[in-house]
Every structure is written in C-alpha cells, then in structure tokens.
C-alpha cells in the first residue's frame, strides 16, 4: 500500500451540450474541487479533444497529480484514449478513473434538477474509487512460435497447411498410420460431386 499523498485531479467535460445542456457543469467542478484529496478540478468543453488532453497533461505537471478522474462519457468509448493521455504525461495508465456523467446521467435524465445531483454523486463515487487505484504493470508473456495440430483429418490438414504457409512451424499429430481421416474414405463430395482427395 502506498503512503504517498493523494493528489487527485478531476476533469469535468461539457461534451458540448451533451452534458452541459442538462447538467450544471460548473457546480460539478466546484463540488469536485471540495472533495477530500482532490487538488484541482478543471472544466473542459471537450476533454477528449487535443486541447482537452493537453490540458490534462499540463495539469498533471502543474499540480503533481497522481490520480486522474475524467467526468465525461463511458469508459467503453474513451478510457483507452485517456489512459494513453496520462501515460504520456508520466502517469501509470491504471491511475485513471472515469465518471460516466453522459450515458448514465445527462442522456437519461432530462430533468436538470435531477441530473446535476446525480452527476455530483457519480463524481463522488469515481473519486472514492480513484483513491484505491494503484499503478499496475502489464505482464508480458513470451510466445513460442510453433503450433500443435491434433488430428490429421481434413480440418487438421488445412489448419496445419495454413499455419505453415503463414510461416509458423507446425507439429501435426495423427493417431493412424496415415493422415486423411474420414475425408480420405469418401469417394466424392457434395455439392459438386468432385473427388475428395
């Protein structure tokens, strides 16, 4: 467990009018700033845009951030992009958390009075989770460039040939004294009544 001081930065996205049209984004930014361990909260028009990402990176440097929360859209759409973004600024990509205030809030809560409090809580939950994120190293697993094909019927033969033609060494194991399988026992095959072998 880390003993380092938590320095969380929250980046609240307007997403044009997608979020800002329903959610009081300024209030979200002010709320985030007051949360414990949050040292800075920034509002962007489009956080995923180049200027938006540059602002994240600049803020990481300026405020020595060690956790980043992006309050915008679903991680399904932009988590990989923001991970790359903070990685380029020297942070481990696993120190990012996303607060989905678009798909799960502004787009499904037309009532402004209800949408803003929900967005605040979503950000609160994301910041709470961010405190328990740690740098993670991805393990790199070596790969032996060779394949074993079990069975020398038509499927095994074709698989072995394709892999071998693609440049990979192949071991083809067949229990019987010859390859060929059931296919070799067929005289003709449908639908064109052509020879099987």
């Amino acid at each position: 467990m880390t003993k380092e001081e938590l320095r969380i930065g929250v980046f609240v996205c307007d997403c044009g009018s997608n979020i800002a049209g329903v959610v009081d984004v300024d209030e979200v930014q002010r709320f985030a700033e007051r949360l414990p361990d949050v040292v800075v909260a920034v509002r962007n028009k489009y956080t995923c845009s180049d200027p938006g990402q540059q602002e994240i990176q600049q803020t990481i440097f300026d405020h020595k951030l060690n956790r980043v929360v992006v309050a915008s859209c679903s991680p399904a759409s932009y988590e990989p992009i923001f991970r790359q973004c903070i990685q380029a600024a020297g942070l481990n990509p696993y120190l990012l958390e996303m607060a989905n205030i678009r798909e799960h809030c502004s787009w499904v809560t037309p009532d402004r009075e209800a949408a803003t409090p929900k967005a605040l809580d979503i950000v609160r939950v994301a910041v709470a989770r961010a405190k328990w994120l740690y740098p993670q190293d991805e393990e790199h697993i070596p790969v032996t460039d060779a394949a074993l094909v079990i069975g020398g019927g038509v499927a095994g033969m074709q698989a072995a040939l394709d892999l071998a033609d693609a440049g990979h060494p192949v071991y083809l194991v067949e229990k019987k004294p010859s390859i060929g399988g059931i296919m070799a026992q067929l005289d003709k095959v449908y639908p064109d009544i052509e020879c099987s072998i």
């Binding site: 399904a76 696993y94 678009r102 798909e103 799960h104 209800a114 949408a115 809580d121 609160r124 939950v125 709470a128 405190k131 328990w132 994120l133 993670q136 991805e138 393990e139 697993i141 070596p142 790969v143 032996t144 060779a146 394949a147 074993l148 094909v149 079990i150 020398g152 019927g153 499927a155 095994g156 033969m157 074709q158 698989a159 072995a160 040939l161 394709d162 033609d165 693609a166 990979h168 060494p169 071991y171 083809l172 194991v173 067949e174 229990k175 004294p177 010859s178 390859i179 060929g180 059931i182 296919m183 070799a184 026992q185 067929l186 005289d187 095959v189 449908y190 639908p191 009544i193 072998i197």
Partner: protein, 650 residues
C-alpha cells in the same frame, strides 16, 4: 495430403498419440508418443514385396471391413506418409523366428522389428484440436437389421463399395453376392434427431441428407438404371448449391418418401430387403423391395476428443462435441486461451465447413504466434498467502483453469490464462484473492460513496463491463430516460460481486441492491455468471430467514443491445426503492450487523435435472420446474431474472 507431407514447416507425426499437455497460452509443452511403424518411412518405396509374402489376412478397416489386408500394409494407395506399416496387433510375431518373411523380402532392408515407442517433447505456443468425429453404430436399431442382414450397410460402407478405389475395385456391388444393386434405398436420420438415448442423439448430424443426395446423384451419373428411394423425415439442404443438387436428383427420378421404415425384412434366398414404411405425405402404408439398403448414419464425437478435452481442460456441449468460447463471436476459440478448435470435433461438419473452420482456427492461432510476446491487461487475480487456507475453491470456479492448485498448496494464478473476471475473488471466504484494478477496497469505497448522503434515495447497482454496463450505455445513446437513483459500480463480470459487497451495501443503508450481468449465452467469461446466481440464491435464503424482504436484492440480465430493457430494470428498481421506508432500512442495518455474510448456495450433482421450485421476487410467481445450472432462469409471468431456486425440502 501430399502438400502436408512435404511442407518444410510441418513435422508430421503419424502413428502417434498425445500423451500430455502442460503449460499455458504461448507456452505449452506437449509429449507425444510415436508408436513404432516397424518400417522406415523414408526408405520404403511402397514396392509391395512384403505384402506378397505376409501370411496374415485381416479385415481392412479403411474399406470398413469389406475387403482384407495383410499385417503389413499401406492404409490406402494415396496414404501420407507413403510407406508401409506393420500392425503390431495382427503380425504373427515381431520375433523373426516366428515369421519374419517380410524382412527377407524387403530389398531395401527397411523393415525393423526393433523399433520402439519414441517419446517426443515439444514446445508450442498454440494448439488446434481437430480430432474429428466418429460415425454412429446402428446395430442397436434392431428394426433396420444392420449386421443381421448382409445387404444393409452404413453410408460410409456404401462409400467404400461405390468408390473407384474401394473394396470391390471400383465396381459397385452389394455385399452378399457382389452383384450390382438395381434398387437402392436410403434411410435418413439413423442415430440422429431422437429423444430416446437408446436410439441415438438428439441433434441433427448435418451431413447425412446431403451425403445421401450425393450418393443418389453419383448413381444417376454412373449407373443410370438404378432406382433410388430416400426415406426421410425432413430433407435439410440449406447450403450453397445443396438445394440445386436435391432438385437435380428429383429431376432424374430419385424418389423422396417422407417416412422412416418401421420394419426391414430379408428375403432369405435373394437376400433382398423388404421395407415397410408409412408414407406420411400420402398417409398410406407401403412395402418396397430393395437389393441394398443404406443407413445414413449420424455423427458422434470421436472417442479421442474426450481424451484431448480433459488434457487441455476444454468444455463440451450437451452432445459431447467441444464447446466453443462463444457461439457467435468466438466460434473457433476455446475457454483455454491459446487452444482453438477446427472441424467436426466441434460439431458434425462436412468437408467444406471443416476446411473453412480450419482456416479460421489457424488464423486465430496465427494472431497469437506472430507476436514474440503479448501483454496481459493488469486486471488479473493475485493470491495473498497469509489469509489463504489452501482450500482450492478458487481453482474450482475459475472458468479458464487459470488457477493451479494442489491439495494443501497455495493456489498459483497463471496470469497469462487469467481473464480477470474475478469470480475466484468472489468465491474466496477468506479475502485471500485480490483483483488488480478492481480491488475489494475500491468497491467498498464506491459503495460507501454512493450511500454517504441520503442513502434511502440510492440504488446500489453492480453492472458487468460487457453487457449490463454497455446496456446502460445503449439506453443513454438512445436517450431512454429513467429515474436518477441508480449508481453503477462497474466490474468486469457479475461473477466479481462478492456476497459481502451486497451485505455491506445493505448494512450501509441501501434500500435496494441490483446485480446485473450478461445473459447466460452472452457471458464473456464462459460461465462465470452461473456463480453469480449461486451467490444471489444464498443471499436471498438468508434475507428471507432474517425477515428482510428478498425483493430488495434484484438480479437482472441485460445485454449490450438491450437499452430498453435497462430502462425497464431501472424503473422497476425505482419502484422497489420507493417501497422501502427509512425505518425498514434502519431495521435492516441493525439485523445485518448481527449475522455473518451468507455463503453461496452450492448445488450438488444430484440437484441437476431434479424437480425444483422457483420463486420470482419481482412478481411473486411460484412454479415448479427442473433445476439445471446451465439454464438461464426467467420468470414465466414477468420475464424477470430475480428467480430464486428454493432450497429443495428433504
């Protein structure tokens, strides 16, 4: 076949069996036992001098026993490798004193009875299982008289009778008198599409209709005066060019009669066959005479498939064929990373389908093999040694076999094989497994944050990354409005949801807890969400026992496409939430602090398919059914998945 034999990058090992496979994706080790051929493959010129002197005559298995071979033989003329082989079971004695005639006859001196089993160890990165299929043995179907009547043959035997390189040397003849049959009947669905386990398998074997139609066309082309009748239940000619071939044979006078023979009798003198059949289109009984009857036998899993399946920990489908990782999205992958399936090992297939699937499997394997290494997303499991009691429960529930455990040993996570679903961590009673990036502490912190203020207005929602969370995204993309009280905790799989998380949420004042994940068929971690259900069953049991309304714990499956369903689930959850008073919440908090977290309900093998009672916690529907761990539970009345399997009363 020859291409395989001479390819510089293919090491062909025939007469060889797989003895053992260890390791994991990218790093498998296999041991192969190559049995002696007693003939030097490289030296043999296939002159056949040895065969001429061999005194042993045995049925030829390649010709389905319709002709004979010697103890030293070549399986068929085009065999690869092109070399003779001595059958150790048939040979009079590999001791030259006993016989040894072949050794003397071999000019090149390539017969060597001193050859022994060779064990070959290889390192490989990927495995393709292509163990194929066997054919159904129709002896049990007594009414067809297979083995009792000499002129009743299987479709594969017919293939060897009609083949140019076949048992009769290219002349079509029937087994009894080698005379050409002029009236041939085909019986479809032999051993297929039956609910009676004594009469075959429930599935359609896919290939038999077209194989019989092909046989009919071949007869038309080569023996046009043959009368062909095909007895069928339905003709399944659904592939490219199939219907056209069916129509061609119809145009040539092949008779298709809907109805399967009820009885076959043999004329003791002519050995002809009398078939009694109900013609179901014309609603009358018919008796037809044939010179030969062909049984279109179905396919069954190859015996060796089961052996390989256990060795590389693969799952099987109900029929016994290998189960793919995902029927729609990953049809040639298996649950074990780095292992792929091709051909009829997965389901009955014809040549074209087998070839297509083989190319797909090799392409998938190639994606892995072309890399020197691959990165594993850092969401895998980690075992803490101190709290671990070495019980091995984690290894039991891992869908990937990614946890290596031996009795009284600390389980070892094979990161390369771990997919990060977290069902091991949810199964551990001792907090000994941590998921990297989806840690228990982070999830508890999220629960606390959700319930920090106005807890009675919050619905704690667990949603799996792939389906439910994405389904909520779809609702958003489609602007499907719903009440704003649910807060989502994203986990990779609903199998990550530890009963303690749910318990903790209720302790912290949650009026409603919703657990959501993929539908059974969509589970992105093979079957990890079956464990979710076990755990929720256990929680429901305990809530009821404590007088807490079980409907406050909701279980719903929602796919990534089901935005509308997510909206409905949210509306339902909100209705539930409004029904929970702050007094009820306080009471629950007090009650829950007294008791331990309930354990998952573990079905016993005896529970499978046994009569069971189910209760829907959404609409209160109660019904009787059968318990099957693989069946997604759904309320017949309201379609909710909050279906409680009531503990069977003994």
């Amino acid at each position: 076949m020859m291409d395989v034999g001479r390819h510089p990058r293919i090491e062909l090992m025939t007469n060889a069996v797989l003895e053992d496979v260890t390791g994991y994706v990218g790093n498998f080790k296999a041991r192969i036992r190559k049995k002696p051929r007693y003939v030097d493959e490289d030296q043999c010129t296939t002159c056949g001098d040895c065969v001429a002197v061999c005194p042993v005559v045995v049925p030829d298995e390649f010709q389905m026993g319709l002709s004979s071979r010697r103890a030293i033989y070549i399986p068929f003329p085009q065999a690869v490798p092109s070399a003779y082989v001595v059958s150790a079971e048939d040979c009079l004695g590999r001791n030259p004193i006993a016989c040894g005639k072949c050794i003397e006859s071999c000019e090149k001196k390539c017969i060597n009875f001193d050859q022994e089993d060779a064990l070959i160890d290889i390192d490989i990165g990927a495995i393709i299982v292509a163990t194929g299929m066997d054919i159904y043995d129709p002896t049990a179907l007594d009414e067809y008289g297979y083995t009792r009547f000499v002129n009743v043959v299987t479709s594969l035997e017919f293939e060897r009778l009609i083949s140019t390189g076949g048992a009769l040397g290219g002349h079509l003849g029937r087994p009894s008198d080698k005379k050409r049959p002029l009236r041939i009947g085909y019986v479809q669905c032999v051993g297929s599409r039956t609910q009676d386990p004594d009469r075959g398998n429930p599935y359609c074997s896919n290939i038999c209709c077209m194989n019989s139609i092909k046989g009919a066309q071949y007869l038309i082309d080569n023996y046009p005066d043959t009368d062909v009748t095909i007895f069928y239940t339905d003709i399944r000619a659904f592939g490219k060019g199939f219907e056209e071939l069916l129509m061609r044979t119809r145009g040539h006078g092949v008779r298709y009669l809907r109805g399967l023979p009820g009885e076959v009798r043999e004329d003791p003198h002519s050995k002809n066959l009398w078939v009694t059949v109900e013609n179901t289109t014309e609603k009358r009984l018919e008796k037809c005479e044939f010179d030969m009857l062909v049984l279109a036998v179905g396919a069954v899993p190859a015996v060796d498939t089961e052996f390989v399946r256990q060795m590389v920990s693969l799952s099987k489908s109900p029929g016994g064929f290998l189960k793919e990782a995902h029927a729609k999205l990953r049809p040639v992958d298996t649950p074990t990373k780095g292992v792929y399936i091709a051909g009829a090992a997965e389901s009955p297939k014809d040549v074209r389908e087998s070839v297509t699937q083989a190319s797909a499997a090799s392409s998938r394997a190639s994606i892995l093999l072309q890399k020197n290494h691959f990165a594993v997303e850092a969401i895998t499991a980690v075992v803490y040694e101190e709290p671990c009691t070495r019980c091995g429960q984690c290894a039991n529930v891992c869908p990937y076999g990614a946890i290596a455990w031996e009795k009284k040993q600390i389980p070892q996570i094979i990161s390369a094989a771990c997919a990060g679903c977290g069902t091991c961590a949810a199964e551990c009673k001792f907090g000994a497994i941590e998921m990297r990036h989806f840690s228990d502490q982070a999830i508890y912190a999220q629960i606390e944050a959700i319930l920090e203020e106005n807890c009675q207005e919050k619905i704690v929602t667990f949603a799996c990354n792939w389906c439910s969370y994405a389904g909520a995204d779809t609702a958003g993309l489609s602007r499907m409005a719903y009440p704003p009280h649910a807060f989502i905790i994203r986990t990779m799989c609903s199998g990550r949801v530890h009963p303690e998380f749910v318990w903790y949420a209720f302790q912290k004042g949650a009026p409603v807890v919703l657990v959501s994940g993929c539908h059974y068929v969509d589970c992105h971690y093979i079957d990890a969400n079956r464990s979710t259900v076990r755990r929720i069953d256990g929680l429901w049991d305990k809530l009821i026992k404590m007088g807490i309304r079980p409907e406050r714990l909701m279980l719903e499956w929602c796919s990534a496409a089901e935005g509308g369903r997510w909206q409905t689930i949210m509306q339902e959850a909100e209705k539930k939430r409004q029904s929970v008073t702050s007094e009820e919440i306080e009471l629950t908090r007090a009650e829950l602090s007294k008791v331990r977290v309930p354990r998952p309900r573990n079905p016993k093998p005896a529970d499978e398919n046994s009569a069971a009672q189910f209760h829907c916690h959404r609409c209160d529907q109660l019904w009787d059914g059968r318990f099957n761990v693989e069946w997604e539970r759904i309320c017949p009345n309201c379609r909710s998945n909050s279906v409680h399997w009531l503990r069977p009363s003994h």
